[in-house]
């Protein structure tokens, strides 16, 4: 069955490039423009993976992860954090919030897919 991935990023170009990459790789893609939008899209729909940016307006990635973990449907869904910040604290904060892993921007398409394969199969 096709796997569905929700991307939350306030950068349109990132959304576009991630979406295109994932769709080419055969994933179904849902996009959200920020954390609040993403949370709305976590409405019980089958979502197999969430990829979220860290810094977003309305609701940042960490809060989104916390909120998503509070939802029964997405308690165990893998969540990847998309970030440029390589500091330990941010990743730690995200992990504590319930993130599964992270992808460091900038990334190439192969890298993105490789990381996804780590948590979604």
């Amino acid at each position: 069955m096709e796997k569905t991935i929700l991307i939350a990023d306030d950068s349109e170009s990132i959304r576009e490039v991630v979406k295109a990459t994932l769709e080419n790789a055969g994933y179904g893609v849902i996009v959200a423009v920020d954390g609040a939008d993403a949370l709305e899209k976590l409405d019980g729909t089958k979502i197999d993976l969430v990829i979220t940016d860290l810094n977003m307006p309305n609701k940042d990635g960490i809060q989104l992860i916390r909120d998503a973990r509070g939802l029964d449907d997405y308690k165990f869904t893998p969540i990847l954090l998309l970030t440029t910040e390589s500091q330990a604290e941010k990743k730690q904060e995200a992990k504590t919030a319930g993130a599964t892993g992270w992808i460091v921007k900038p990334f190439v398409q192969d890298k993105l897919l490789a990381v996804i394969k780590k948590v979604l199969r």
């Binding site: 309305n58 440029t84 604290e89 730690q92 599964t100």
Partner: protein, 719 residues
């Protein structure tokens, strides 16, 4: 990824506009955390995206800028004018880089390097840390990329295969991070040959078992050619959720059939490096015995992070153990939008216009046909096309705020150049105008602003001498007024001296010396062709464009420019602009056999009046509901020779602050008018803002009530 480049450029351009606005706001409100957060966020986004789309140089600039704002937001660096300057200069440079990602010449490269040095020195100067070095060293770490553990010697002896024993014990709560530990085993398996043995003795009885917890752990014997860091990479996301131990067994592939079988016989608790080696010794056929040094590698100590943290030159912000959880919470700003090219919008607008016109024909035909069904259909289409028109129309509206940012920047730069202190205020930024108008408004507004800055606001000494605050104020204020939007540009400068204007106009031959003019008329001379403030041309305002061009541009938009100035107090220019250029809601009226459209927005009320009543009025004033209302008899003004009907319609419209009646023969009804220009032949007849085609194909003329009333008043004054 090239196809995404254009979209990145668009997005970056928009981000830069936001950024510029935030910066300029911040300059006036330097402690605003929210703005700092916003700026940091934009830098961060730009940095993250730029290099993905081939704009490495932008990535470099924003990376360093981000450092500055990160320090500011964690209170390690104080905001200062040099920071604003360097950031604004960087913005311009980024704009340049968007067009020339790899520079277009040495100039660009020079500027780039200079900027980097400036940015870096800001961070350096304030923290005593050598940012440049730390950045370099960070890059160096990335280059090494676990290379520390690459042991080239491994590959001398055999084909490079090494066997490890990997012990994996997840924490119970690992599922709640969305991790499936079996994937880890799978990943290890993909690195080479492996044999995994699960440790299940911690699994409780069913009634004590929490299905959301993980009780298993694993021992995996892995024979692989991959490096240690490749193996460690498997666990990159689970450092804290898994205890991982990696023991090197031997530099051989020990996973052969007999061995696997023998290992399977063992109790899992017994499996350790020694047992494995022992078992392997027993099972291996005739391989030369080789006791490789056993190396205990505790994975946890060698993560990339810990290496980074050990670096003495790590970036200053790392010293800050708890950065403010300052992911900026922006004021709610709807970001859910898509970008559409203006060509498509224009095309849509055009189609909607045609639809509205065609719909009018349908409506006419339907009402004549007497077929109920057809009339119902026509009515629904009418309703839909009206909604469609309104929606399309609103899509073309842009808040004037988009211009304000540019102006704020311009004022800042120019006032710096001129050495004048200026407070620039903008009001009514959410006032919306048709995008076409906004586009065409930029140049005239910039010109007026330049004039205010250059000629309007006096030098500091002069201001102080005149008892004014040293800092001059320029205010741009936009507000709705009926179907118009007014944009006022006021300064508290020296004002325009009518005497000087007059002298200049005479010397330029614009007016004859004996001509008598009111103050307003005199001030308006600055809009006359050939009147230029040439003697004061400076680099700022002397761009070869006179106020006559400004006036023409505004007139082309069916707008007006009104000037008011008092010597010593300042000048206000008010631009009066129509909301839209294409469709208006109007009242269709008739005079003689010609149809006219009056914009509904200006209409206050309509009254039926007897013709006699009007002709008996002295001075064209009529009393309606106890108010004296001046009126224009359009029959007279349009020189219609036929006899007026016995009863006429008085349409009371708002004109500036007063009410004026327009007398027509007949009211036909409401009408959505798609404006069509009357064209060059009717340039002089500017009392009509255009024309529109009615359902039966007849052309109706759209009245510009303001001009009609002005014309009427002028005529009355003359006669």
């Amino acid at each position: 990824m090239d196809s995404f480049q254009a979209s990145f450029i668009n997005e970056a351009t928009e981000l830069l506009v936001d950024l510029e606005a935030a910066l300029l706001d911040l300059e006036n409100d330097t402690t605003n955390k929210q703005l700092i957060g916003e700026i940091f966020r934009v830098m961060h986004t730009l940095k993250g995206t730029a290099s993905m789309f081939g704009f490495e140089n932008i990535g470099e600039i924003t990376h360093h800028l981000e450092n500055i704002y990160d320090q500011i937001r964690s209170d390690k660096l104080e905001i200062s004018t040099p920071i604003f300057d360097v950031t604004l200069t960087s913005l311009d440079h980024i704009r340049y880089l968007l067009e020339n990602p790899n520079f277009d010449g040495d100039e660009g490269i020079k500027r780039h390097k200079k900027l980097l040095v400036e940015i870096i020195s800001i961070v350096e100067g304030d923290t005593g840390n050598n940012i440049k070095e730390s950045i370099d060293s960070e890059e160096a770490i990335e280059d090494v990329d676990f290379g520390l553990f690459d042991d080239d010697d491994d590959e001398e002896e055999n084909d490079g295969t090494i066997s490890y024993l990997v012990y994996i014990e997840p924490i119970k709560e690992i599922f709640s991070n969305g991790t499936n530990p079996l994937f880890l085993i799978e990943d290890l398996h993909n690195l080479g040959n492996s044999k995994a043995v699960p440790l299940v003795n911690k699994i409780p009885t069913l009634q004590n078992l929490d299905p959301e917890s993980c009780y298993s752990s694993w021992k995996v014997i892995l024979s692989t050619k991959e490096s240690v860091d490749e193996i460690m990479d498997v666990f990159i996301f689970v450092e804290d959720e898994c205890e991982v131990k990696l023991d090197k067994i031997i530099e051989k592939d020990i996973l052969q059939e007999d061995f696997i079988e023998a290992i399977g016989q063992l109790n899992i608790d017994e499996i350790d490096v020694a047992t494995i080696l022992d078992t392997w010794e027993r099972t291996k056929s005739d391989e030369k015995k080789e006791s490789a040094p056993v190396e205990n590698v505790d994975f946890g100590l060698f993560t990339k992070e810990s290496v980074e943290n050990k670096e003495p030159n790590s970036r200053p912000r790392k010293e800050n153990s708890t950065p403010p959880k300052g992911t900026p919470k922006q004021v709610t700003k709807p970001t859910s939008s898509i970008r559409v090219s203006s060509d498509k919008l224009d095309e849509l607008m055009n189609l909607v216009s045609q639809l509205v016109t065609t719909q009018a024909s349908l409506q006419l035909y339907a009402s004549e046909s007497q077929e109920g069904e057809l009339e119902t259909i026509s009515e629904s289409i009418e309703k839909i096309s009206r909604q469609l028109r309104d929606t399309t129309f609103s899509m073309c509206l842009v808040p004037i705020e988009t211009l304000y940012t540019r102006f704020t920047r311009l004022v800042r730069d120019i006032s710096n150049d001129l050495g004048k202190k200026i407070l620039f205020r903008t009001e009514g930024g959410s006032t919306e105008l048709d995008k076409t108008i906004i586009e065409q408004l930029t140049d005239p507004l910039l010109h007026i602003l330049r004039n205010s800055l250059d000629h309007g606001i006096e030098s500091e000494e002069k201001r102080i001498a005149a008892g004014k605050p040293a800092q001059g104020t320029i205010t741009v204020n936009a507000y709705y007024s009926g179907t118009y939007v007014n944009v006022g540009i006021s300064d508290d400068g020296g004002g325009i001296d009518p005497e000087k204007i007059r002298d200049k106009a005479i010397s330029k031959g614009v007016i004859s010396p004996d001509k008598q003019l009111t103050k307003k008329e005199t001030l308006e001379l600055i809009f006359a062709a050939g009147f230029s403030t040439a003697e004061q041309v400076t680099g700022v305002s002397g761009r070869g464009v006179g106020m006559d061009v400004v006036k023409k541009n505004i007139n082309d938009l069916r707008g007006e420019i009104i000037i008011d100035s008092n010597v010593g107090e300042g000048t206000t220019m008010t631009l009066k602009l129509p909301l839209t250029l294409s469709i208006i809601d109007g009242l269709l009226v008739k005079i003689d056999n010609i149809f006219y459209v009056i914009p509904l927005a200006v209409i206050k009320k309509c009254y039926e009046v007897a013709n006699k009543e009007l002709s008996n009025q002295y001075n064209n004033l009529i009393i309606i509901e106890e108010d004296q209302i001046p009126f224009c008899n359009l029959r007279n003004q349009f020189k219609v020779n036929t006899n007026a009907p016995e009863f006429q319609q008085l349409i009371v419209v708002k004109n500036e602050s007063s009410l004026v009646g327009l007398v027509v023969d007949e009211i036909v009804g409401e009408y959505q008018a798609v404006l069509k220009p009357l064209g060059k032949y009717y340039k002089q007849q500017d009392i009509f803002s255009g024309s529109t085609i009615l359902g039966d194909g007849t052309v109706a003329l759209v009245l510009d009530t303001h001009r009609i009333i002005n014309q009427n008043q002028n005529n009355t004054l003359l006669s």
